[in-house]
Each structure stands twice: as C-alpha cells, then as structure tokens.
C-alpha cells in the first residue's frame, strides 16, 4: 500500500498487456459456437467490467482465460505467456461464483484462504511462516479475521465472498478474475469489495469482473468489455458503456424505462431519464447523452475514468 506510486510506475514501464485475447473462437464439441473472433487486451493496474446477457459467453471467456477450454482458433496470453505457463507462475487468481462452491465442504475459512498459498508451497504443501502471515493479513484486509475458525457454510453471502477474495489476496496473483462478485451481497459488502478492488488496482493488479450489476459498473470499472458471442465493444467505461452499446449487448432483455417531459418533472430541465436494468442495481442515464450517473444520484467520480 505504501508503495502505491512505485508500483504504478513499474507497471507503466512494462509494455506487455496483462490479458491479451486475440481472435479467440470457441466451439463446443456439439457444434455450438460460444465465442467468435474475440479480440481485446487489458493492461495491468485496472478494473474491467465484463458485461453481457446470460449465455453471451462470459463464463466461456473465463474458462478460456483459466485454460479449462482451449480456443478453437486464436490465442490468449497472460503477461505475455501462454495460459498454461502463466498458471504455473501463480499470477492468476480466481474468485468463483457462489453457486459453484460446495458450502458443505469440511473446510474452515482459514483453510480456504490457505489454499491461495498452495502455488507458493513445495510438493507436500506444507505451510511456511510466510504463508501463514499472508493468510493472516489477507483475512485482516477483508475484515474476516474474527471468522477464521468458522466452517464456510456458516457464513452470510457477503462474508462468503470476502473469504474467496481473501484467498485471491493471499495468492498474490497479478490478475484476478471475479465471477459475479456482487450477486447475493448486501450494499455494505458491495462497497467494501469495490473499495478493496480500487486499492488492488492502485497496487498494479488487473481485475476482470463479470457482472450483471449495470448500475455500479461506472462506479468502479475504468474499462468495460461488452460481449454477446462476439466482442461488441471494449475500452474506457466513458466511451464504451453507452446506452447504444448496452442496447446492442442486451437487445430486448433489459428492462427499459424512459421518463420524459411533464411526466417526469415540472420544471425547465429538458432532459429525460432512461433506466436500464436486468433486475439488479439499475443503470440510469440522464438525457440523450451518456452522461453517466449512478442510480443513487452520486456523480461518476472523475478519477475512475483516468
């Protein structure tokens, strides 16, 4: 944390993108094409939202980044390395969706976080002092130290997320993939997670976050990748996360409310309000332009777009 400035300059020097996806097409054995010719690249030190409808290929993209699926054509490079080699160097951390975890598994909170250290341990996975310290500080950082002896199924939705976030912290991966981190999480935890992500970004980590939570994307993402089987748009949130692009990404799936004129307000402000939502926190546009504002009314913080 103290080295925040140094970290950034160090990363600015490195020219290799943290995630580089070039012309990736993924077809399943049954002929279904899940991704078609997807190309984008992301640099270290950022938070990127991955947005698309269910079945748009978000999880296929994650699986490809993790090497579960080999692209039919095209390639993925992480920090300039092929996926398999990158995984060996322990640079990718993964925070799974809540429903992908067996919450009855007989492990305690601290055991799960310790799993983040396995890549740093030897053949028999015996924890060293450094490993235990890393677990302690990761738990401290997500505010879960008091729960370390709990079995994971005894936690609330938000606490569960924090545990897996702590595991990613303990792993010290430079690239963190988060699969729907805000689903089933209360607002306090959501804000805490976002705050933590901002800290990590400032330390030079790259986070790729798949989310349905359209309303908070402008809040915490400085980049956005929009997909629907293929890449629709990728780039800085301000230029990419527009109403036009979102309509392209979601088609008729989004709930779309438009309130204009006397229906909306009785004053001289001529702007209408557009609300886009897929049933989580809604995204609100004022007027025609992508003058992004949060549903709760807080203006988009300028430093996020930097």
């Amino acid at each position: 944390m103290l080295q925040r400035v140094d970290d950034r300059t160090a990363d600015a020097v490195s020219v290799v993108p943290a995630i580089e996806v070039s012309h990736v097409t993924v077809s399943y054995p049954n002929g279904h094409q899940a991704l078609r010719d997807v190309t984008f690249s992301l640099d270290a030190g950022g938070i990127c939202g991955l947005v698309g409808i269910n079945g748009s290929g978000k999880s296929t993209l994650f699986k490809t980044l993790m090497g579960f699926i080999r692209p039919t054509t095209g390639q993925v490079r992480l920090n300039g390395m092929p996926v398999a080699r990158a995984l060996k160097t322990n640079i990718v951390a993964y925070v799974p969706q809540a429903e992908d975890v067996d919450w009855n598994f007989p492990v305690l909170v601290e055991d799960v976080v310790m799993m983040g250290r396995y890549g740093h341990m030897g053949f028999l996975r015996i924890a060293s002092r450094a490993d235990r310290d890393a677990v302690d500080s990761a738990l401290e950082r997500v505010g879960m130290s008091a729960f370390r002896k709990r079995q994971i199924g005894e936690l609330s939705g938000g606490q569960k997320k924090r545990v897996f976030l702590a595991r990613a912290l303990a792993q010290e991966g430079r690239i963190i993939l988060l699969d729907e981190p805000f689903t089933g999480v209360d607002v306090t935890t959501e804000n805490a997670i976002m705050e933590l992500m901002r800290e990590l970004r400032d330390n030079g980590h790259l986070m790729l976050v798949s989310t349905h939570n359209l309303g908070s994307v402008p809040d915490f993402c400085d980049q956005v990748v929009l997909i629907n089987k293929t890449l629709l748009a990728a780039g800085p949130t301000q230029t990419v996360f527009t109403q036009a692009n979102l309509e392209k990404a979601f088609g008729g799936v989004l709930r779309h409310f438009q309130l204009v004129g006397a229906n909306l307000h009785d004053d001289d402000d001529p702007r209408g309000v557009t609300v886009l939502t897929d049933d989580e926190r809604p995204l609100v546009f004022y007027g025609e332009q992508s003058n992004l504002r949060h549903a709760t009314g807080t203006p988009h913080p300028p430093e996020d777009a930097a």
Binding site: M66, G67, F68, L87, K88, T89, N90, V92, A93, Y94, P96, D100, V101, D102, F105, P106, V107, L108, D111, M115, G116, Y118, G119, F123, L124, R125, Q151, R167, Q171, G173
Partner: protein, 285 residues
C-alpha cells in the same frame, strides 16, 4: 484370557489381521474424498466391475489383481466417457456400466465354473488368503497410502475447487486420473478382505462417519483412516470367534460407529441438532 489371544497364535489369522487393517485404512482414506463429490457409489460400481477381470485372470492363469485392476480402470474410464459424451446423470451412467461389467463376470464364471469360486469374490475370503495374494494386497495398499499421504492436499483442492486448483498450477485432470487409479487398485485389494458387495461400505462409511464429527478435512482424514484401520482389524479378530464372514463383521462394526456418530456427534448429530433447535426456541420466547 488366553482364549482371547488364540487368534494371534495362527499364522493365517495374523496375516488376515494386518492385511485387513491395511486395506481398511487405505479404503477409508479414499472414502473421505469420495463422499465429498457424491461419488460414493463409484466404489460400489468398481467393486462389481472388477469381477470379470478376476474371472478372466483365473482363466488365463494371471495374477487376479492384474485382471481386476484392468477391468476396474476400464469401468472407471467407461463411466467418465459415457458421462462426457451424453447428458445422462451420474447415477444412471454408474448403474449401466457397472451392471454390464458384473453381468459379464457372472456369465464368465457360470460358463467356466471350475475356474473361479465366485463366492470368494463376492463375499471375500481374507481368512483363506494365500501368501502371494497377501503380498499383492500389501503392496497395493502401501503404495496407495504413500501416494495419498503426499497428495491429499492437492486432491482436496481439486475436489473443492477445480478452477482454483488450475490457478495455482495444479492439473485437475491428472489428479483425478490418479485418484481413480488408486480407487480401482484399492477396490481390488478390498475384494480379498470383504468381497465385492461390501467394498462400498469400506469406501463410504468411514468418511461419512468422520464427516459428522469434524469440519476440518485434515481431521476428517485422521478420524476416517483410524476408524477404517481399527474396525477392519477388530472385525477380522472377532470373525475368528464368530466363525462368520470377516467382511460382514467389519461392515457391521463400521455401521455401529456410524450410528453412534449419527446420534451423538457434537454438532451434526441428532441430539446436537435437537439441542440447538431447543435453544433457538428458548431465545425466540
């Protein structure tokens, strides 16, 4: 008093005792993993699937363990393959594959009745085990145990969260193949002690019992392996006096321990649950 020591005076009893204990321990180790993924029935399936291998090995004059191991692996591979290609559920796949193998075994044994004593495969015959078989079982169990001791943490991670296993550089596929190879090998070993029908108990009950007693996987392994070892040893010992099938005695002992845990386990037992519901009610009032 001296009467109780009588079993230790016989070589065949001593052999039965330590072989049973070894097999019981290593099967219990595997059981801790199997029940975590809802794969418990795989043990049963493999237990039956090795029967044709044993029959074939007897016909060809090969060591029974080799034949059993081959068909065991074939069955495990077959199940994985059918599961991968079709969208059938696991239970259906397991059911179809293992009955196919078992039927083949029964057919072979019935066509060539002198070759195999099918009863000794189905019910096990640890008291009659010869030195060669005992050695085979001992080697299989000891190697499996060593591999498991070295790799249990990696296996736990793969069973818990494959994505994360990948993220720390572990290849989940390789470890799963390792696990099912060990399972097939140990099923073969367990055939001799308790027989094909009761293998399932050896690779389920100890893990299930330990699961009720702890929330930490490391402890779960210790409890499960101790229970498997002790019940198998004691079971073989008691079967001398009862003059009954060793497998039956071992499994009955394990079941008794399971029932005890089921009732008295400190957090997951019936009594504990009653208590916590009662406390919750009191607090509500």
């Amino acid at each position: 008093m001296t009467e109780l020591l009588v079993p230790f005076a016989y070589d065949y009893m001593l052999k039965a005792l330590w072989v049973s204990a070894l097999v019981g321990g290593v099967c219990a180790f595997l059981s801790a993993f199997l029940m975590l993924r809802g794969w418990s029935l795989m043990g049963d399936a493999l237990g039956h699937a090795v029967v044709p291998g044993v029959a074939m090995a007897y016909m060809l004059g090969l060591p029974y363990a080799a034949g059993a191991f081959v068909t065991g692996l074939l069955a495990a591979g077959g199940m994985a393959f059918v599961r991968h290609v079709t969208s059938l559920r696991e239970d259906a796949v397991i059911g179809v594959v293992f009955t196919a193998f078992f039927a083949a075994g029964v057919l072979m044994a019935s066509i060539n009745p002198i070759a195999v004593n099918i009863q000794s495969i189905v019910l096990g015959n640890i008291l009659g085990i010869d030195d060669n078989d005992a050695l085979q079982v001992a080697i299989i169990s000891a190697v499996s145990l060593l591999v498991l001791l070295a790799k249990w943490k990696d296996l736990m991670l793969v069973f818990f969260d494959e994505s994360h296993a990948r993220a720390v550089g572990i290849n989940p596929m390789r470890l799963k193949i390792l696990f099912f190879t060990l399972l097939a090998a140990c099923t073969v070993a367990a055939l001799q002690t308790v027989g094909a029908c009761l293998v399932i108990a050896m690779v389920v009950t100890p893990g299930a019992t330990a699961y009720l007693l702890t929330d930490r996987f490391g402890r779960l392994l210790v409890i499960s392996v101790s229970m498997g070892t002790v019940t198998s040893f004691v079971g073989a010992y008691v079967s001398y006096f009862l003059d009954g099938a060793t497998g039956g005695v071992i499994v009955v002992l394990q079941t008794l321990l399971f029932l005890t845990a089921f009732v008295f386990a400190p957090r997951h037992g019936i009594l504990a649950q009653r208590r916590s519901i009662a406390t919750a009610r009191e607090q509500a009032v």
